[in-house]
Every structure is written in C-alpha cells, then in structure tokens.
C-alpha cells in the first residue's frame, strides 16, 4: 500500500531548505538590479510645496529621481495609469467616502511614511544617500491622530470627507434595543483594543525586469497574491496582462499585510524597470515597514446587552468605531468581520451592530492575522464574563447556555459576511469543545489551585474565550497537476505561500488522491507562469480552497491515468488501482508482468509522439504498437499529456471554531503578568497534517500573547510613530510565549470534498479576550482595554483602591 499521507504528521518538505539558509527571498534575487530608496513624508499631514533634488545630483551612481509629476507625465505620454490613485480593492455600497493614496504623493501627505520621491541608483547605499539629500518643503496641516480626534472631527484628514467617516454600516436581525429594554437584566460596556501589526520578519520587496525584445515584464514580489498583483500591475502600466508575470519567491511571513496590493512600490518598481529598461529592486527596511505598510486592531466598542436570569442573551447591540486611518484601499473587510464574527458560537437573541470606519493621519489599517476577529471576540467574551459576574454564575456555564447546539447546524446568524454571503455556520460542536477545554485546563479544579496559590502569596486567575472563524472564503482557487514521464508529479496552485507548509500539505492531499509517494510530488505556488488563476492567501483559506482544488484535480488526473492504463493493460478501469505510483490490476502481485504500468509510462502513452527522443518515448511513437486505424491518436475530448486542471468554488465560507483557556499569575508588587498555562481546543474539521495545524496554532498564540501584553503602536499627538523599531516595539520572545497545550475536536465541514476548515488565523483570535479574563479573575478588577502593560495594571489597581502591595 502507498503510505497514507492525509492526516499524518508528515515532516515539512520545505524545512531542510529553509532552515539551512537556502530559502530564496526577494532580497536574495536581482543582485545586478538597480536599487530604490524612497523619500517619505516625515509629517502626518502636510501639503507638499516644493521638492529640490539639486544636492542629490552629485551622488555617485544616481540613475533616476521620480516624483508625482513624472507619473503624471507618463500617463500623458504613454497612456499608463500610474498617476491615478491606487485601487480601492474591495468596494462596498456603504463605503461612500473611499480614498486611496497615489503611488507617490501628489500634493498632500496623510501619514508619516507616505512615499513622496523615488530614487533609483546603482546600489541601495547610493539611493539612500541621494534620498537623504533631497529637500521637500511642506506646509503643515493639523494632524488628526487617535480616536477622539477622528470622532470629534475638529480637523479633517481629507477635505472632502465630512466627519472623517468613510463608511457607516448597520446590520440587525430585529429591534435589539427593544429586546434589551424588555430583558430582566442588562448592562453596558465600553471596550477598546490598541494597534498592532503583522510585522513579518521579511518586509515587503519588489524586483522587476522588463525584456524589451520580448516586450514582457517579470515581477518578483513578496506578496500574498501574485495573480492579483499581476492584474493590477498590467492595468497600471497599460500592458496586456499576457505580457506580465508575477512570481512570489520564498516569503518570510505575511500575516495579512502582504495581501494588500498593489502597494505603491509594486507599481513604481515595475514602472521604473519599464522606463529605464533595466532590472530594478526595492527591499523594505524595518522602519519603512513600521511606518509605511499597515497596522490593525485599533477599535473602540460600546456594548448594550439584555439577558435573562440564566444569563441567556435576549438582545445585543454593539457600536464599533474602527480606525482605518489615512486611506482605505482594503475597504471595510476588518470592521465587517468584527461586527459579524463577534457573535462567536452564541445565539445573541436580537442583534444589532453599527460601525463607523474613520480616517486619521496614521498609516493604513488592513487585515492582520485574525482580521477584526480578535476585537470581536474580545467584545463578546468580555460581555459573557460581565454577565456571569452580574448574575454570579460560572463563566463557562453562561457560555454553554448561549451556545448554538450541534443539532442546529447549519445555523444562520441572519447577517451578511465579508464575502457578501450569508453568515451560516456549517459545522461545530461547541458543547463538546467546551467540555474538552474544561478537562484540558482543569476548570473545575481551579478554585482549589487558587487557594493554594493565595496561601503562598501568589495571585492567579483563569479565563476562557471562544470564537468562530469564517475560513476559506471564495471566490475560488484552482490546481494543475501533471504527471511527468519519469513519474514525477508536478502540482501548481496559484495562491502564494509564506512559510505555512503548503507544499507539504498539498503534496499529502495529492499523494493520497493519486496514489503517489510524497517524495515524487513537487508543488509550486504563487507563480503566474505556472498557474494564472487564483485569488490569494488570506482568511485561512489555503487548505480549504487550494487543498480542495488540488484534490479535485488529482481525481480527474487519476481518472485519465486509469483510462489510459486500462487500454494498455487491456483491463477495465474498475479493476485498476494506483499504488506507489504504479497502476495495477487489483489483486495482482506488485510488478506482475502484464498486470501493471507505472504512472510515468502512462504519461508517455498519454502523449502520442512522432519522435522517440528518449527510450521512454519510444512507447508512444506511431509504430510502437498497433492502433485503431479509425480513431485519431488523440480522441475527441481528450488532450495530450497526463495532466488536468480543476477549480474549487464554494457557495460560502466554512466556519472553524475553538476555545482557549489561560491561567495567569500577576505579581502583587510589579503587576507583571505571566502566562502559566495556555490551553487550546481547536476544531478545523478534518486535519490534513496535525503537526502543521499545531504549528499554526503555536504561532497564532504567540501573536495573541503579544497583542494582549506587549505590542502597541505608540503614536504621539502629531502622528509620529515613537516605537518604530524592534528595540522599541515589543514582540514576545520564546521566553514570553507559553507552552501551548492543544486538543482537537474534529467536526468535518460538509462544504468541501476534504471536510477541512481553515486553521491559519485561529490561534491569535481569543488571545486578548482570554488573557483579559484571566487577569480580571486574578485581580478582581474589570479589564476593558487591551493590551495591558504592568504599568497600566498597576494604575488600575490604584484606581480601584488596591494599595500597592
């Protein structure tokens, strides 16, 4: 038998290459390319008055200096669209005041870090030297920084956007206010979450080469969507899409920030390569990533909830103020996700949610792993804990009473999700998950543990948080599989990979479907030369979308292989099986003469030949075997080659879920917070590779802990980011990330052929909610804002009348 691959802890095929330093990241490419540096705005809000490049001209190796005027001239001279604002990628009817930036600032800058001048030189050193000598004169405008400034709108970010409001959206399932007013109990909460960011170890980067003879452009970019970058670059540069290819090399992390496209640099670098006729490269440095890529998370929430004596929700009304900041290229995806996924595994009674998406003069907000869900989860789980506290009930019991039951699946929440489709949960067994979690963390034994700790002068607390995550959003992904004549199986899918182990996971699927050993499978992602139709890697969708697509593709290739083998073996298709890459008649011994043919030979036969270019090819030539003289060598409806392409397009997202429990200890003196245990029960449906899933959970938890206790973007009142370096922006190290204890619950998705649900983002979602709950439990002080630092906890203690110990 072929070794079973699906569901096994197969070691990642990528790792020997990546962990020995043999990855090929963007900056490993294009050593002969010209290099780019940008002059970026040092001001949060200003008009560009003048740009003086005189002093830069003496820099040795300088090649070109571009400003917005050059983009404008180019559009007039060449019909390009480089001078237009960058696209608003996801329009929405309620997004009435969408504004996006120009690739280079036209006359106004709206955040520190906005690109104003592009310098091209022989080396990055020269480009940086020249950029440093360019003088830009600004007229300052009042900077709108922070929640209050945006809401009060004393000053506007964009003159033509009243109130700094890009969009206002309401979703409701009935009259929530009436339901709350009529409820036996009600309470209100004001909550907020601070900014953080994806912060991949590798920033963005672009390398572009124009082949003037072939009239073709090749772009390498560190992106989460090569196919859409391709479309965008072609559109911007007025090139036929056919003349543009985008290749994603190894990517050192994305976490959402690289799904945004085209970044200004993804337009400008290819454009410069086109105009200069030479390869041009830009590699983002760390400060650039901090100030000019994207952040997420910052939101303010007001909650009103009504509930009965048992803690069951009767009505829930939430208002969300979301800060998308200077521009809104990615539309309303983050606040839509917050406002819908907030509901988690619960039935909210009557629900109403309203959000405003606001402009400020800080760098844009676009999805970061979790994409609005951590905020929504924080809101709902803080509400659950508040209800439990109000009624004096066990926090897990209040949750349990509000769960959607397994028998109620599929469950329609009555809202519209981020993909424009109904928010219908397809699967999950929330009571079973909670039972697992309580056992895993020892929920029922915790009070005894608390007493022991208290006797020893220690403060400990426990918290839980539950989430439901829509994953695998459409519209589609595809796969192409070709069996080479040596039996190698080449798999391509169009979405990109950033280190998640996609090659391994997809090879496991194809290996089982096709009956081929893992080692014989080669997987390519994110290369439009290989596969041109794809959407991208986001929303925990690769396993669901590309996994399903390559499974379907493998099935068609398998059918074709069996058809050809059946002819060659003079057997019927039903009697054949594929084992270890060998098609054989069932019940015969491996290698039995005349009863088997390996897939490589089937591939040879699939492609009728005139010329025997090698030994294997002889079998497919015209005199090799008798053929039916009345049939064409390639029959109608067939294609040469043992290959196939198929696509998977679901009607709607599939919903994964999970629950986290955290035990923390807070220092009575310093208010330092230490995570003692972190337990996860996770349901992503059928597991393709439990090791990879657990790795995803570990990474997510690390980011969740970071977002709860350490990470924030410290902007001052004038819009300067004060902690734009790894010296100042705290990310958790291994020393801060707890050991993660994981238990899986498998409720397969009925929506896709593999029964899988996404796992990429899950680990991060309940972090702030669960840790806030645990700190609240340890301290007896309501925690309403996250992240929380020891200083903030210390001051909270003082505010609540606790003397420093």
């Amino acid at each position: 038998m072929t070794t079973k691959l699906f569901g096994e802890r197969v070691l990642r095929a990528e790792d020997p290459r990546l962990v020995t330093g043999n990855g090929r990241y963007l900056d490993d490419l294009g050593h002969d390319a010209l290099e780019v540096a940008f002059v970026r705005s040092p001001h949060a809000h200003a008009r560009v008055v003048d740009i003086d490049v005189t002093e830069a001209l003496d820099v040795d190796g300088l090649v070109a200096i571009y400003t917005y005027d050059d983009l404008l001239a180019d559009s007039e001279d060449h019909g390009t669209r480089v001078a237009e604002p960058l696209p608003l990628l996801i329009p929405h009817p309620t997004l009435t005041h969408g504004r996006t930036q120009h690739a280079l600032a036209r006359d106004e800058v709206n955040y520190v870090g906005e690109a104003v001048v592009m310098v091209v030189a022989g080396t990055r050193y020269a480009a940086e030297d020249a950029a440093e000598r360019i003088r830009v004169d600004y007229d300052f405008l009042p900077a709108v920084v922070g929640i209050e400034a945006a809401r009060t709108a004393a000053h506007l970010v964009h003159d033509d956007v009243p109130g700094n409001v890009a969009a206002r959206m309401v979703q409701e399932t009935g009259d929530a206010d009436a339901a709350i007013d009529a409820a036996p109990h009600s309470l209100e909460l004001e909550l907020s979450i601070e900014r953080s960011a994806s912060m991949p170890m590798e920033g963005k980067g672009v390398l572009a080469s124009w082949d003037a003879d072939d009239e073709s452009l090749t772009v390498h970019t560190s992106t989460q969507t090569s196919t859409s970058v391709r479309q965008a670059v072609a559109a911007k540069l007025a090139l036929p899409v056919d003349r543009v290819d985008v290749v994603t090399p190894d990517v050192g992390g994305g976490f959402g920030v690289k799904i945004v496209h085209p970044w200004p640099e993804e337009v400008l670098v290819p454009w410069a390569a086109l105009r200069l006729g030479r390869p041009v490269k830009w590699t983002e440095d760390r400060r650039e990533h901090f100030v000019s890529s994207a952040h997420e998370r910052a939101q303010l929430h007001q909650v009103r909830v009504g509930y009965d004596d048992d803690g069951r929700l009767l009505g829930l009304s939430v208002r969300v103020w979301h800060y998308h900041d200077a521009y809104i290229p990615y539309g309303l995806i983050v606040p839509i996700i917050t406002s819908t996924q907030l509901l988690g595994p619960y039935k909210p009674g009557v629900y109403r949610v309203e959000f405003e998406s606001l402009y400020t003069n800080t760098v844009i907000v676009t999805p970061y792993r979790g994409a609005g869900r951590p905020q929504g989860c924080f809101v709902m789980e803080r509400t659950m804990d508040a209800i439990a506290a109000d009624l004096g009930l066990d926090r897990s019991v209040v949750r349990e009473r509000n769960f959607i039951q397994p028998g109620e699946m599929p469950f329609d929440q009555g809202l519209v999700f981020q993909d424009g489709r109904p928010l219908i949960y397809d699967s999950g067994d929330f009571p079973a998950s909670l039972d697992k979690l309580r056992k895993l963390v020892g929920w029922d034994d915790f009070e005894a543990y608390r007493e022991v700790a208290r006797a020893a002068g220690r403060r400990v607390g426990i918290g839980i948080a539950c989430y439901v995550e829509g994953t695998g959003v459409g519209p589609y992904e595809g796969g192409h599989i070709r069996v080479e004549t040596d039996g190698t199986v080449v798999v391509s899918t169009g979405l990109t990979t950033q280190g998640q182990g996609h090659q391994t996971m997809l090879a496991q699927i194809v290996g089982d479907e096709l009956g081929v050993p893992f080692e014989r499978i080669r997987v390519t992602t994110g290369d439009t030369r290989r596969f041109k139709y794809a959407v991208g890697t986001f929303a925990s969708r690769t396993a669901v979308m590309s996994g399903s697509a390559v499974a379907l593709t493998a099935r068609t290739v398998r059918e074709k292989a069996l058809r050809i083998a059946a002819q060659a073996l003079e057997a019927s298709v039903e009697d054949l099986e594929i084992v270890d890459g060998d098609v054989r008649v069932k019940g015969t011994a491996p290698g039995q003469q005349g009863a088997h043919i390996d897939l490589g030979a089937v591939a040879v036969l699939s492609n009728p030949l005139r010329y025997a270019f090698d030994e294997a090819a002889r079998r497919a030539t015209q005199f090799a075997a008798p053929a039916d003289p009345d049939k064409p060598p390639v029959e109608a409806g067939e294609h040469p080659g043992l290959e196939g392409t198929d696509f998977y397009s679901p009607t709607r997202s599939t919903f994964a879920n999970g629950m986290h429990a955290v035990i923390v200890e807070t220092d009575p003196d310093t208010a330092d917070v230490k995570v003692l245990r972190y337990c996860v029960v996770h349901d992503c449906g059928t597991l393709i590779n439990p090791m990879i899933v657990e790795g995803q959970i570990h990474g997510g938890v690390a980011q969740g802990v970071g977002g709860a206790l350490y990470e924030r973007m410290e902007y001052d009142a004038s819009g300067q980011l004060l902690n734009a370096s790894f010296m100042d922006f705290l990310m958790p190290y291994a020393s801060e990330v707890p050991e993660v204890e994981i238990d899986h619950l498998v409720t397969p998705s009925p929506l896709n052929p593999l029964g899988v649900k996404g796992a990429g983002e899950a680990g991060v979602i309940p972090g702030s909610a669960a840790i806030a709950a645990a700190i609240e439990d340890a301290e007896g002080i309501p925690i309403r804002r996250m992240p929380i630092s020891p200083s903030e906890l210390f001051h909270l203690r003082q505010t609540h009348g606790q003397d420093p110990a």
Binding site: D60, V120, G277
Partner: protein, 213 residues
C-alpha cells in the same frame, strides 16, 4: 519639459553677448564640452561628454542661433544624441543691463528621448540648472579675467586665420586648463549653445553628475 533660470554676469551686456558667441570661450566653458566645430554663421557642431550611470555617454549635437537682437536676446535651437538618448531644446536667452553687470535669463523647452527621458523631470531639470549655473560661472570667470588661460588654451585645432566662426573651424577644450567647476563628466546639456551659453541650460539635459574618484 520647461527649464528656466537667471544668472548675473560681471560684465556689460555687449561683452557677455560676444563671449557667448565666441566658440573659443564656449568650448572652454561648457561643462564636458570636448569639441566645437563651426558649421557656418551661428551654427555649431559639438561633442559633450555627459551623463552618469545609465545615461552616461558622449553626445553629439548641433546648435543654431537665431532671432538675434544684439545685444539683448537670441534664440538657441539645439539637438543632441548619444547612446543613452536624445535631446532637443529651444532656448530663449535675454540679456539685461544692470549697472555694468548683465542679468541673463533663459527659458528652455526641451524634449528628451530614450533613457534620458526615463530618469525623472526633477532630475533632468536639476542637472540642467546645475550645468547652466556652472557654465555661467565659467563664462563669468573668463569675462572677469579670473580664468584667462581658458581662452588662451582653446586654439583652433585647424588653422583658420579668419574669424573663429568660419565653417570648419574646430575648437577643442584645453586638456589641463578647464575652469574650476567644469570637470569633464558633469554634464550637461547639451545644447548649448553656442552662444549662449546657455548651453548647459539648454539642453538640459544631460544629466550628469560626477563620479567620485
């Protein structure tokens, strides 16, 4: 692409006008100018080494002076081409007296092609202005006598007893006597003009910058 600027020269208008129409002065003062050949009345052929990086090269061009209103104005039409690209420019030069000094103004309308056209407007205009400034400084040094050797060193390479502007007269830049600031390699413009000087300005275009070391 429009380029304009002014420069004040420490000589009267007639002297400036004459200098700008003297090929021996021009070849010594146009930054990067290697060779200047008179093609006839008010027409010159010139070779300028200019550029840096991707547009570095030797450019050959022609300059014609028209619409003379001596000593107050003239127009200079320049065209140049080199491996990195092409430049064409019309430059209006006006001279005004200012208490024994001359205020020179130029307005150029340049069209660039090839690689040169791809390096950015501000860079082109920046280089052009810088070259023009350098050119005028050089001319001013000659006029004020600070750089006498410039004139003396620029002898016609082909004996031409008549006026230096006779067709076929060839002027080459003195190898060792270039005025300060006119290091070869800083480019410029092309065009220049004959007279005018403007040269640098004019043309605007070549970009250049110098290689260190």
């Amino acid at each position: 692409m429009k380029i304009s600027g002014t420069s004040t020269l420490t000589a009267d208008r007639a002297a400036v006008y004459r200098a700008l129409n003297d090929p021996a002065v021009l070849v010594a003062t146009i930054p990067g100018c290697r060779r200047l050949e008179a093609l006839g009345e008010d027409a010159y052929k010139m070779t300028v080494a200019a550029g840096v990086g991707s547009i570095k090269g030797v450019y050959d061009g022609e300059v014609r002076l028209t619409d003379h209103v001596e000593p107050s104005r003239f127009t200079l039409k320049a065209q140049g081409a080199g491996a990195p690209g092409t430049i064409g420019a019309d430059v209006l030069v006006t001279l005004e007296e200012d208490g024994g000094r001359t205020v020179l103004s130029y307005e150029a309308d340049a069209v660039v092609g090839g690689m040169i056209g791809g390096v950015g407007q501000r860079m082109l205009t920046g280089v052009s202005k810088k070259m023009a400034d350098e050119f005028f400084r050089n001319v001013d040094a000659v006029l004020s006598g600070a750089a006498p050797s410039a004139l003396g060193g620029a002898e016609p390479a082909v004996p031409q007893p008549a006026a230096g502007t006779a067709p076929g007269s060839v002027f080459t830049a003195p190898a060792a006597a270039a005025p300060a600031g006119a290091q070869p390699g800083f480019v410029v413009g092309v065009a220049v003009g004959a007279a005018a000087a403007l040269v640098g300005a004019i043309v605007g275009g070549w970009i250049a910058s110098r290689r260190r070391g």
